[in-house]
């Protein structure tokens, strides 16, 4: 089991969701975060005040998957999130010690396997 964490552009978040859906990856959380990954800073001006926006809006995906889904998940996120410009984001894959599905008490691999229809 791995936790796949992906930080992507907010405007690509829908494309990532679509790609994950096509790759049959189900069960994920997203959150809005701010971050900086080396892209050019935006300059904004409010009356006389000019500021550099160091932090850009990003969307963070957290997807817990079983081993055979790690690679498809990474591929789907890359497909959905890539624009080719600096600032497309990162994917972090980290090991998971334990997973519990609260409703049933199932643990580990069966807990990250979606319930069949």
């Amino acid at each position: 089991m791995k936790l796949v964490i992906a930080i992507v552009r907010p405007e690509r978040a829908n494309d990532v969701l679509e790609a994950l859906y096509r790759a049959e990856v189900r069960g994920l959380s997203i959150s809005r975060v701010q971050g900086h990954g080396g892209e050019l800073e935006r300059v904004e001006t409010y009356r006389g005040t000019t500021v550099k926006m160091e932090l850009a809006e990003k969307v963070r995906f957290e997807i817990a998957v079983s081993e055979q889904f790690v690679q498809p998940t990474i591929e789907a996120v890359c497909e959905g999130a890539r624009t080719g410009e600096v600032g497309d984001g990162k994917i972090f894959v980290v090991p998971l010690d334990r997973v519990v599905r609260i409703r049933t008490g199932e643990t580990d691999t069966s807990a990250v396997t979606p319930v069949g229809p």
Partner: protein, 433 residues
Amino acid sequence: MSLAAQLPARVSAGDTAWMLVATALVLMMTPALGLFYSGLVRAKNTLNTFMMSVGALGVVTVAWAVLGYSLAFSHGDGFIGGLHYTLLHGVTLSARAGTRIPHLLFMAFEATFCIITAALVSGAVVERMRYGAFLIFMVLWSLLVYAVLAHWVWGGGWLQHHGALDYAGGVPVEMDSGFSAFAAAVVVGARRDYGRQALLPHNAVYALLGAGLLWFGWFGFNGGSGYSTGHGDVLAFVNTLLCPACTLVVWFLLDLLLDGKITAIGAATAIIVGCVGITPAAGFVSPTWAMALGAIAALPSYAMILWRPRTRLDETLDVLAAHGLAGLTGILFIGLFAQRAWNRVSSGLAFGHPRQLLWQAIAALAGPAYAFVGTYVILRVLGALMPLRVAEAEEAVGMDVVQHGEEAYTSGEGAILVIPEAGAEAELAVRQP
């Protein structure tokens, strides 16, 4: 010196007082429209959408004073006015012919109509059209499309000559903006994500408040279009209360019938549709028929708003449905139910004057046709000279940041102050008290 001595001959103090207020009321409708529209777009495009209306307050007013007013209202031929009032030459404080208000005030009141009509068209192209290109478009459009249609029905043009009736702008404002928006959506093209993603309104409260302020301003819009405090103005004013109320009720019923829930965005839209419907007919139909008009006007607009998003036409904020169709309904309604007993001008078919319906129908064909073709040609020419829309990647980031370098909802987190150069700083320090 007494007050009466300050008034030029034939100018009425009462009429002038009301028209000063009415002009300010109509001017307020443009930022109200900006608020309404900005609530209907995504958060990242809030400012750009609002600024399209604010832009009209600047560039269209200037174009109107320099040339537009003359093209609409000075003596010309049946198609377009002359150049007699260019740069407001000869527009003085003496009474405008046919009214008892100063000519200068008449010009200002009509300016506010041109401003909001140009701003209305932005609804078709928000979230993708370049701001600079839209400003240039509004200038050309206000001179070549709005001024011409205003001349047709109010400035001595052919429709007015033949007795077509339009109290407050069914032809030059409502059908004009609606069908111009249609053409603009065709030329500029759909948003990048249209039909692929759900593109939802980001703040329904803005839409409701914007619609409410528009209704408030509309009392000046319709109530001032008789240029006086006479009975036509009182009738138009009260009809502006009654008609949109009926539209609102019918819209609620349609919402209930089709979805089981009364919606806020629907209510905001219904207010606009009702106000638009009564605009051409405001001073011509009885209060009872105004209520009937409000109920009827809801139907075509509601149907169009349901149907349009299923097509490939990204006429984003449904200007065609809310203004084009409702304006057309109102224009035709005059031909059916105008009553000489109320308006002292003419009756419609139902009250023994079928010819009125003929000319209303001609206005309902000619106005939209000219608006569509005129807008289409202007944008095609403009599009050959400069890009009309931002790049796809910029559209994805959002118009506020890309076009204005500002955000509507900035948190300030991660914002680093750019310190001005030492020289400039010293200069600032000197100016501090």
